[in-house]
Symmetry: C2
Subunit: 417 residues, 2 copies
């Protein structure tokens, strides 16, 4: 008997028929003798419907009230899934985040989990119940409902698996695993049987939207055995076959191919925006003065570059998600004069990031030059470059993004197993 956490995305929960399918699959696992905790997302379309209602009333809706509203989508899902499980003859009980409780900080709409109390869940599991927990949501120290941000149900599932020391965390989604890149962009994209946490982290953060980035962090940090697989395969497929499908997240140590060909995939992030703060005095603390107010507004900054200074002045460039562009520009132009003494703040909301991801990239010098040559052959101008141990990212004009991804996928022979 093992303790298994299942997570189902919005598409998998998208209709009564699909919810029944999920129940059939969960019941199969339960009947095989396993303890099951299931974390569903809201039915697809519901969160957007609720957001649209809120935004019709308020252009900049209060985040606390927004969480009050959007958290209901998952609450409906857990109730419906419990009913479907009961119809399968499985004893099931549902909980909202606050009932567990999944405790978070108070950063509404992008809260972070601080603690999960699993006593109630454990007690239910002991009595043979399947426990269905609303993903994406929690409760802050003052008892306000919070949400974890888009894709937060992945994080909920992995965090619950980590706290409860689950044997497996299975993320059921509408794709059948992690690909070398998005198959909608490159037809020849191939499914990876295994991918390291670190690569996955880059793939997720860089736009291969299979798993939310924070869930991968949890997964790696707490060594949760996590598999991404399809909810569309036959729910009555034998367990052994199901466990061989999808993509397994592995550790560096499990990666026996480390010395070989290193590129796992091409990731991209379409909706980026670039902000350049030009001609700022090159003095200690300047980076903090620029980025502090942006971080205070809970805006995630991605790539950051500071040029070598000339005559005591430097340029400072960074990227944010496109939806945060207006607020970030507002904050910076507000601070540009008084605190920063910048000459000018320039912005471009139409840029995309493309990355080559693979374990040990840094030690294979040929990879960067191959990437730059490939882009140059397609006449694609590189606006920013940033590198890490396992990826090289470039920022380019949005309109060349798909061309770049296809060219790099081919150049690194990712279409070949």
């Amino acid at each position: 008997m093992a303790l298994i956490v299942h997570k189902y995305g919005g598409t998998s929960m998208g209709s009564v028929e699909r919810i029944r399918n999920v129940a059939t699959r969960v019941a199969k696992w339960h009947k095989a003798g396993h303890q099951l905790v299931v974390v569903p997302s809201a039915m697809s379309g519901q969160t957007n419907r609720l957001l649209a209602l809120a935004r019709e009333i308020s252009e900049q809706p209060n985040p606390r009230e927004l969480d009050m509203i959007t958290s209901t989508g998952e609450q409906v899902s857990v109730g419906l899934l419990s009913l479907a499980l009961q119809e399968e003859g499985v004893d099931a009980v549902s909980y909202a985040g606050w009932q567990v409780a999944v405790k978070t900080d108070s950063a509404f709409t992008k809260a972070r989990i601080s603690e999960i109390d699993d006593k109630r869940v454990l007690a239910d599991l002991e009595t043979g119940k399947v426990v269905v927990i609303a993903g994406f949501q929690g409760v802050d120290p003052e008892g306000h409902i919070t949400t974890l941000g888009r894709g937060g149900s992945d994080t909920s599932a992995v965090a619950i698996a980590a706290v409860m020391r689950a044997d497996e965390c299975l993320i059921y989604t509408d794709v059948d695993g992690v690909y070398t890149t998005d198959p909608r962009v490159v037809e020849e994209a191939r499914r990876l049987d295994r991918v390291t946490f670190e690569e996955m982290l880059e793939m997720a953060s860089l736009g291969s939207k299979v798993l939310q980035i924070r869930s991968v962090e949890f997964s790696g940090k707490y060594r949760v055995r996590t598999r991404v697989l399809s909810s569309l395969i036959d729910p009555l497929m034998p367990l052994d076959d199901e466990m061989r499908s999808g993509t397994l997240l592995i550790t560096f140590e499990e990666n026996e191919k480390m010395e070989q060909a290193v590129i796992s995939g091409i990731a991209f992030q379409r909706d980026e925006a670039r902000i350049a703060v030009i001609g700022v005095p090159d003095k200690p603390g300047i980076a903090y003065q620029i980025l502090g107010p942006v971080a205070d507004a809970n805006i995630d900054v991605d790539m950051i570059i500071q040029n070598t200074s000339i005559e005591g002045k430097t340029d400072f460039t960074f990227t944010v998600g496109r939806s945060d562009y207006q607020s970030a520009m507002g904050i910076l132009t507000h601070h540009a004069d008084e605190n920063i003494n910048a000459e000018v703040v320039l912005g471009d909301p139409k840029v995309s990031k493309v990355s080559v991801v693979g374990v040990g990239i840094r030690s294979h010098v040929g990879i960067a030059s191959k990437m730059f040559r490939t882009l140059s052959e397609e006449n694609i101008n590189i606006q920013m470059i940033s590198t890490s141990e396992i990826k090289i990212s470039v920022l380019i004009d949005e309109k060349y993004m798909e061309l770049a991804v296809r060219a790099l996928h081919k150049a690194f022979e990712l279409d070949q197993a």
Copy 2:
């Protein structure tokens, strides 16, 4: 400065435009210097949508899970209304039932409020906030979400007004007050300026669905000054005019007309079902043996009649809401042989109840005979009769219901002020 509770029904919350209207009205009250607690229902159609989803999955959905699902409708409403209030420049905060907390028993789908903790709400009011509380819902001692049953938002509002000793509880609905009968059935129906709690109780329980019956009980028991009025009148109407519209619930003592013409209205309940347990031994405890299991199943029994016994046997007849008919019949036929020794259990799910309601009916002997004569002149057969201090009810074939209501409304001259 007064403490005012507003309650808005599903129709009043039915669209973004209407929610804005509600916010405009609440803001007007708040700006006039009053402290406001607002209790909205779910947007019209939402509760039915959620129930339909649940019933598509399960014919007899588990009540706990049903409450998990349906309570989300009001949670969305409080969030949206808070946003709309903030757009009006009013500081507003929303709470789900459990956050207040509105404590209830564990009778899922028809829970009863046991206690309301108003500390958090009072603290918010002190800082000038408008507090928006989800109606219809609460939390049981084990932390499960409960709902109060259909129309439960009225009960929430009046209970909150009672606990907080509010100066007024204004129930905004899509009708502009309490009528002598349903205007959809009788065109000449007239709005009553005032009605006693006791009459209202009968009117509400008998099908004039302006207020949920339990809310009227609370209203009378805790002497909450309650007014039913229309949410469709101009939200910027002067406060004084608004307070003269609708129907005010008054006490017996406030009713100066007590010795005069006594009939306030004709109430009806279309969806009734009759169950007759024929030929049961007339011995002590038989009524309990028949109705105990029905009550245990949380089915509300309405009219109850036991005939004079003949040769040690009696017939026992009662009515239930039509939606409970199947379960009640199931329970009774199951128990009929073993415990009750009934000869046969007969049922008729197509009956309606029509009632004449007014203070002091019992002391005016002419009223019952006038009622029976009127029905007889229309050739309507009376199946059961039941009376109280302030009403006379008859059970008739469903198909004569509207005819009976019209004839009685005319006979008692309710079309004339």
